[in-house]
Symmetry: D2
Subunit: 467 residues, 4 copies
């Protein structure tokens, strides 16, 4: 259960994930022991799973490990990831764990840990890793071993979302909604929430099956062809799609067109800023400047953080943050600090009805649609460090009219005209990626050309040095 | 809980059904007391429900009534009707009950009783009615009151179907199947059975919701428009559709066309006759002669029975019957005497793969498609009895080349050329219906004209007499 | 389900109780409908049962009635009455109900309702009775019918008690405790709580069985002969005994002697007054003056209320009350407003260890043991009203040195020397009872003679008038 | 998880047992993997536990291991060992497993495996050990991993026993029975079975608690002092006692006297021989000749087998065996091949009523009470092999009037007068044990003296050789 090329790291940007070689009964048990050791053998850990075929096996091994340290377990059964996040926000629960590989293939599985409603901070992960690799596991005395109880959290979790929706004005009307639940854990949540608010709900892929028979779990356009086709051929006001564990939301309009994630983020941010009278909007480094434009014009401020690290910001200044998001994964701080595609789906349907006159296309007109480019060049792992050092030095020299430079995860250069360029190296593949956006196709093309040329030049030089 | 116009009848052709005025906590409790009294306060009754919103309320009242007589209860939770039939075929269960209104609107609910794997005989219903209306309920002593246990029967029920499918040759290949589960109890069965046999399964309306948000529960062409559209616009080899409790199966081919029920029955009958070397095929009176043609050419014999009465025949000579069916509702006697749309769906997918080269259209070429007419004339309830008496007398005189006349439920005249005409009065509406079929459009049109004319003449005469 | 001689009253002094003629599926369903109507079809009712043989039958009928009004139900399973009281104190629960007949024979059953941690006030009972007898039941629309969830509350309830015990100093040591759980709902609570605090626990009659095979459910001396014998023949520091649903506590010392209830109340009151720096102690009218002596000497004040009515006082001025009790049934306001024999058992064991040096006899030396007399004369129901009117007039004239006269339930005369006399008529039998206590046998005998003579004289006169 | 001094053996005479060093999450998971590998990843394993504090932890690890091989699991929850044996006798279950350390201290736990209603044969254990130590575990593909279902088997198991009791004549009357359930898994079975047959049941230590608060789990006289005292001081016709998992039965008469195990075995054997018209009675080598006397006089034949090996004989010729037993552990072949202290308790109570006129003392008069001696001398492990070789050679020479010599487990010499002598070395301690019995104290004393002298002489010689 180790990351390639990093013998002492368990957690990636989104928890722990992998195939049987990495995520198996033995590693799961030790992970349970490590977490229980971190908790000093005290407290209660709530453990849920998504619907994958290895869920019972891994759950049992992990729970056995936890119990051996003296920690008690609350078994949540099959639940969406956001419900686990919610559970961890309750006073009675110390840590929430979901066994899921989110949108990975069905052969994989993994773990995500929550505390106080937000994902583990890196410092907490490091402590788990220390115990895991050091094999220094606490063993409770025979009469202090943990116990396990079952808890059904569907109703209280859905109630929390309902309360938020009601607070944001309830529904002025109704419309037809198509839900594609990816055969995952959200199948039993999003349709019923929408129904309870009076929507007319049709579902596709909403029977839970860990084989993901309907489509791959990732709600990307290439996996949603069938659903987009259905949306285009029918009369749904909007179509909402999830991944296997419900932290992700993808949106399709009534013409069957996939809505860019940055626009969905901007939309949610706009209304949360209005609702909460301004504040911070925290997004990951790879998001586009349409968010900045919308946020600024509604009295808010954008904070960009590395991918998989929004929780660090949430832990730091939760009270000032009105909304946070990575692409696909909205965090409504009104609810708590977890990514919630289910709440996102219901909130979006609410906006379609209340602000879009029952039309997703109408609603999205509020958020401009700007050109973007996302591409990469090959970059061998050993060169990544030097490559980024050079990028940091050279890139700013190649771009004019710079407004701001961000170095939280790669180098992001923002220009006065709202265009931007992000260069970063992949954490899992031998690639250097660049992301470009702007208000005109011209500005985007120019920046993309600059990026590619600069990156290639740097890399050529490094490879020359090397050989 | 009484039928209009019949103060002493509880059961209709498909068990007990109705809105809150007829099916409510009080009537359900008394029904439980009546059933327990029929059982003399001994034995075990298995009770399941479909997913309707009144399920828990009615279940609780009914179970309380049963327990008060001393009968024990096994709570099956939400299950499809066929799984309840299966349960009643086990030695450990005396009676199986499902609380469902099948394909009725969501405002309704009802009860269906099973014994030895088949629905209650009329004689058994009469005994329940006697206790119900007579209010002569057994009351057990305080220390002999019944108890309730839970049982999960999903796995053994699915295993029974799997065994049949394997016995019929397993799968030679695989294909894409679309399942429309009507947001009902089959959502958790048909997709998983198909998946276990290697099919690629996409579902629509497969999250359980007693509001039937996706479409009305009856799988008729007018309710399946969206699904037929999906089938036409995509590449599924076949599409299978259920009602709310899974006793019904509707089939849609890869062009999105709804397959006539008679042809589905003929198809199943053909292969069961081949599998079991001939025997009886029992069908309801309203089925077409394509069944006779196929059954006879495969060494079988057709028996026609009134609607809602196939169980009488099954109780009489089960061993000789290879297959039975009403429209939509196949009974595989290999499994047991219950109607099973779930087994039907898997069996049909098997035939598509093994006998149709992965094409439903190809498969169905084996079963001819003949013209049919189904129509009615208004017929006031008070005249129905005299009307049918006249029909019985006059109709045979109006039809030439008669091969056979059946009077089990209305009058059915079968001609030598394979054409037929059935005239019967509706049990629930002020209508007299006629069903006509034949191998040519000409013969059908002629018979239909004869039927309409004769029926109108008879009715005119009766109404003349009356006024 | 009506009280003899009072056609419009459901509730007695301790909820609703009776045999099948009064407490049956039909009356339980209507009671559920009445409660749901009182709640206007909204909210959540938590429903538990004790272990009686009719529990499942009545639970099902009652729950069906509740659901039909739209109210949701949380099913607690088999739980002690105090755990239901606890549950009703939680924000998420509107009403808590336990189906139990407490210490009645196993042929009986009944209902007790809780709100905000205390039993229903008489005004709330009256409202239930109004709907019940008026048969004006709310019926929810089909899509608003209630749902049912299960909840296991054993752990949080026991945690609440543990917190109180820890707050009162935990345990300074340990000792051997015998628990007689009356084969009731407390079997799964008191022994485990004691074990968790390190006591050495032996149990008798601690397997749950609604037949009450071990002994009648009432923990009175005549039913505890075997247990008192065991206590005498062995080396337990203390023996604690319950009734069927755990609201009652009886205490036996290490010599096998039954401790008078008034002394147990005085003991608990003393320590709660010390713990909470004085306040009110609310007790029922039939308790003895040893309580007053102890309470006053520890800075407290005694309030006496009619039997079955302490909740009225708790609703009025909860914050000032440090402890309340009827005989057998302690209410620790630190926990909440319910009678709790389980908490009482653990608290008593704590006092034995911490304040009695591991000896119940030693502990009880703090509370004086005074003589008492409890007797009755026959008094026909029709004369009761006039009889009490005369008692109220005449009795005070017959007693000297009166300190105080209480007329909350019968007439209680308290004298300056600490002796007292209570005369009241039974609510369930044709009897007039008198209770006498004092510091000397002489004062008690004298008061008892006065009581008997006065009562007989009054009654003779009334009967003379009558004939 | 290995036995001291035998690096390649997991199973002892009664399954696998030990403290955390041997029985822990890691070893349990590997044991699950080994068993699943033995089953080639197919089939269903039923897994129950007793009430020990490590039950959930070990269950989870073991189940995770099983699932990883593809085997499915049925979770039985907390059940007595005999119920697991029963479960393994059902067609739907391939192997039954109970996690228990039987009568060991609460710090221990362990595993016992059943197949076809009897314990694993040594050959089956060897195969498990091969996979366990060889670490050659099957790993199922991701989509073939096992699943877990819950099943409540209390009712069908108790029904099986009831059927046997009814077949043996039901009850002619009733009496008072005291049950000491050792705070173990039988707490929820024996009292309720007895109650259902009309006995008046009082229980002690019948709340389940894995700490064994009431007494050590082994029902030996030294642990039953309190219970024997209760029996003596009260009026129970008989007292039955269990160990932690209910395979053991100890019997106490109405005077509080512990009945010798050999007499209980002889009693059960007698009535089974009468019931089944003779047959084999299989007992362990350490049982006394009173069994032979009774069995022979009732047309039966005694077969003696090594301790912990009766299942080998049961697998060989089940149909001819009417009863089998080790001390404490009766096997009623009418039920199946498992040791069943619960069935034993009910059967014994039946005999007390039907054959003893409601008196245990009266009943036991049928079985003579003969003198016995059981003792040991120290014998170092390394000498055990040579010691037994010498015993086999010399012992027969020292005893006169030999009728038969048995060498299945140690050396057992039976004499013509019914006296016998068994010498064997302990499997777990550095001891050589001898067991002597006979009809007169004189013959027993003489044989004991011979045994001790011969054993000492042999050992002295061996130790001399060694030094």
């Amino acid at each position: 259960m180790v990351h390639a090329g990093n013998a002492k790291r368990l957690f990636g940007t989104s928890g722990i994930r992998g195939g049987f070689d990495r995520v198996n009964p033995m590693s799961s048990m030790n992970l349970g022991r490590a977490l229980g050791t971190l908790l000093k053998g005290n407290g209660i850990v709530a453990v849920g799973t998504d619907a994958r075929t290895s869920r019972v096996m891994l759950h049992h091994a992990f729970v056995s490990g936890l119990l051996s340290t003296g920690v008690d377990v609350v078994d949540l059964g099959i639940v969406p990831m956001p419900a686990t996040g919610f559970q961890s926000s309750l006073a009675s629960i110390d840590v929430g764990v979901i066994i899921t590989a989110s949108h990975n293939p069905p052969t994989d599985n993994g773990f995500k840990f929550f505390r106080n409603g937000r994902e583990f901070l890196r410092s907490e992960e490091v402590e788990v890793e220390k115990h895991y690799f050091g094999q220094d596991f606490l063993v409770a005395d025979w009469n202090l071993l943990g116990t396990k109880l079952f808890r059904n959290i569907r109703t209280p979790y859905m109630q929390r979302i309902k309360t938020m929706i009601v607070k944001r004005g309830g529904m002025n009307g109704s419309c037809k909604v198509l839900v594609d639940a990816a055969n995952g854990a959200a199948s039993n949540y999003t349709p019923h929430l929408l129904q309870s608010f009076g929507f007319s709900v049709v579902t596709v892929n909403s029977h839970q099956d860990g084989h993901f028979p309907g489509r791959p779990a990732e709600p990307s356009p290439r996996n949603l062809e069938f659903t987009m086709n259905m949306a285009a051929e029918s009369d749904f006001a909007v179509t909402v799609c999830h991944d296997g564990d419900g932290d992700r939301l993808a949106v399709i309009d009534e013409k069957g067109r996939f809505i860019d994630q940055n626009r969905v983020i901007a939309l949610f941010a706009k209304y949360e800023l209005e609702e909460q009278d301004g504040g911070l909007v925290v997004v990951s480094i790879d998001t586009s400047n349409v968010i900045d434009e919308i946020v600024r014009s509604h009295g808010g401020e954008v904070v960009r953080r590395p991918l998989g690290s929004l929780q660090e910001e949430l832990a730091l200044r939760y009270d000032r943050i009105v909304f946070a998001s990575e692409p696909w994964k909205p965090i409504f701080t009104e609810l708590g600090g977890w990514m919630d595609g289910i709440a996102g789906a219901v909130r979006l349907a609410q906006l379609v009805v209340n602000e879009g006159d029952g039309s997703c296309i109408e609603l999205m007109k509020q958020i401009p649609e700007y050109p973007m480019v996302r591409d990469f060049i090959a970059c061998p792992d050993p060169l990544k460090k030097d490559f980024m050092q050079e990028v940091r030095k050279i890139l700013p020299e190649k771009v004019s009219n710079i407004d701001k430079i961000l170095e939280v995860d790669g180098v992001r250069v923002e220009r006065n005209d709202g265009s931007y360029l992000l260069v970063r190296v992949s954490g899992t593949e031998p690639k250097a990626r660049f992301y470009v956006g702007g208000r005109t196709q011209q500005s985007v093309d120019a920046l993309a050309a600059t990026a590619k040329k600069t990156m290639t030049t740097i890399l050529d030089a490094l490879e020359g040095n090397q050989s």
